[in-house]
Assembly symmetry: C2
Homo-oligomer: 103 residues x 2
Amino acid sequence: MIKVSVMYPGGEGKIFDMDYYTQRHVPMVGALLGDSVKGASVEKGLGSAAPGSTAPFTTCGHLYFESMEAFQNSFGPNSGQIMADIPNFTNIEPVVQIAEVVI
Amino acid sequence: MIKVSVMYPGGEGKIFDMDYYTQRHVPMVGALLGDSVKGASVEKGLGSAAPGSTAPFTTCGHLYFESMEAFQNSFGPNSGQIMADIPNFTNIEPVVQIAEVVI
């Protein structure tokens, strides 16, 4: 299984509209990518290891695909539309991690 | 649900023993934390957004807990033993993200 994580680092001057993200962006991505998406999750950062510390990422979104090919075939044709929506909810440049689920 | 992610950034000179991690470290953490752990996953980084690019994190491990309190109560008394095992499989200082699962 392939997991694609889009992680938004927090920090001074960074904004993130969680309502838009969960109510419009995530459903739009789901509709565009369709059945190739085998799972999805969203998390809101609360903290880091030290008590009272800030979370490295204010928000993380994850999508699961059966294979790298399945991800590329579904995401490729829709990447323009998906990327164009990002400025509607944040000014953060996300960190993207593509990974193989081992456990 | 609370998700605790321990993410190991890759890079020059960084080493990570995936066999030790999956066969010894993760089971040890599971045994120490017991029933408070509601789920666990491990991913191996493959790449980032641009084709051929390096994954930001070489490995990510995630644990799920019912609440922040459940995490703190189970992790706190075992943190010393868990942290002491890290040099046995890597020289990377992990990034820790504690987050609330929203979707």
